[in-house]
Symmetry: C2
């Protein structure tokens, strides 16, 4: 029984690692589709979200099984609860990848002059945050997780700067308002992914140190 429990926990962890890779890849591919006008890639991101959704259902079931059948305590319980939240966060990251892919499709279908905004840099930082959040979880490494929290303000600032630039674009070229709106949507979705990576990092810290970081840091801006 004890052996079985350990195996089930390991299997949940492995599943979350795989799901994390899918989510990370979905964001990377959606951004690539947006920046390169690649309809094929955007469509693949949208189609593959189903895979992430199936992971969520499977992991949710595993959490229920572990809690119902095994009555875990202390460290194991904290791990299972953190896993349940991370599972939910990753599923939502998948949804944001779909939103970005939809914007990519719109822009591929309605080409406009190039928008000079720093989406590539924002995407790089967000992807690194997500990777570090997942690695922090895998390695149970709270100091890696803390580095994720430190980047969240940078992303908020970048988002504000990008929106401001795009407002100027809209003002100067009213014929590109729709495309500029899609870029704003992409920027806001990246900002939400960074928030979710921050959530994951907080869960890892909570799990490692049984300490609630959320709401105790300097107040951060919330879900746009």
């Amino acid at each position: 029984m004890q052996r079985h429990f350990v195996q089930e926990l390991e299997s949940l962890k492995t599943n979350l690692i795989k799901m994390g890779s899918f989510a990370e890849d979905a964001i990377a591919q959606a951004i690539k589709a947006m920046l390169e006008g690649r309809r094929d890639i955007a469509e693949r991101v949208i189609a593959q979200d189903e895979r992430i959704n199936l992971f969520e259902i499977e992991n949710d079931d595993a959490v229920v099984d572990l809690l119902a059948l095994q009555q875990p305590v202390a460290m194991d319980l904290r791990f299972i609860l953190a896993a349940s939240k991370i599972n939910n966060d990753l599923e939502r990251i998948g949804d944001h990848a779909v939103n970005i892919a939809e914007s990519a499709l719109y822009c591929a279908n309605h080409p406009s002059p190039k928008m000079s905004v720093d989406i590539p840099r924002m995407a790089e930082i967000t992807k690194r945050m997500l990777r570090d959040a997942i690695d922090g979880f895998i390695q149970n490494n709270p100091s890696l997780s803390r580095s994720v929290l430190a980047s969240d303000d940078t992303i908020d600032d970048l988002n504000k700067k990008i929106v401001k630039t795009l407002v100027d674009v809209m003002r100067k070229n009213p014929e590109t308002i729709e495309q500029a709106l899609e870029f704003i949507r992409v920027s806001r979705n990246l900002e939400r992914v960074a928030d979710l990576a921050t959530n994951i990092a907080e869960e890892v810290i909570f799990m490692a140190e049984a300490q609630v970081v959320k709401h105790h840091l300097d107040k951060r801006d919330a879900g746009h």
Copy 2:
């Protein structure tokens, strides 16, 4: 011990009901601030989000206690897991109220001609969805919860219509682009609140019927 467990469960439920009222009120007040240009109300919504955040921490602790100390099974376990997710959803609804209040502040500080978009109707439907989702939870009434799911498409359509109208506004009056963007932000935040109300309704149905509704309905659009 058993008696104590029942009391703790009841207390978690009561706390979620209170938190739900706060979240519902925060959305209602934020929208009022937006529509009537009331800075004072917007500031109050932002200040009171702390109350909702404290509820989340308290309820999270209660969930951990219940799971760690009481080893619940079956129906109780499902209730506790649903409570944990609803707790998270309500906290996020509070964040969306803050976002709307921030837009209200911006628009109060930068007055523009009236925007003719149907935010009032969208807000009414969203508030009703949220109220029904919470009532469905309180009364453990899955048919009330199902009515919430039915409204989600209406909200998605309204959001699209409102964004379209605002794009026209921007095109005709480039000097009001910033204000129109804030209205788009409010519309998208309301749409996210409707999504979260839908999540809560799904949790209630799951709890009542132990059946995963999520991802099995017609595919719905996700977190914008």
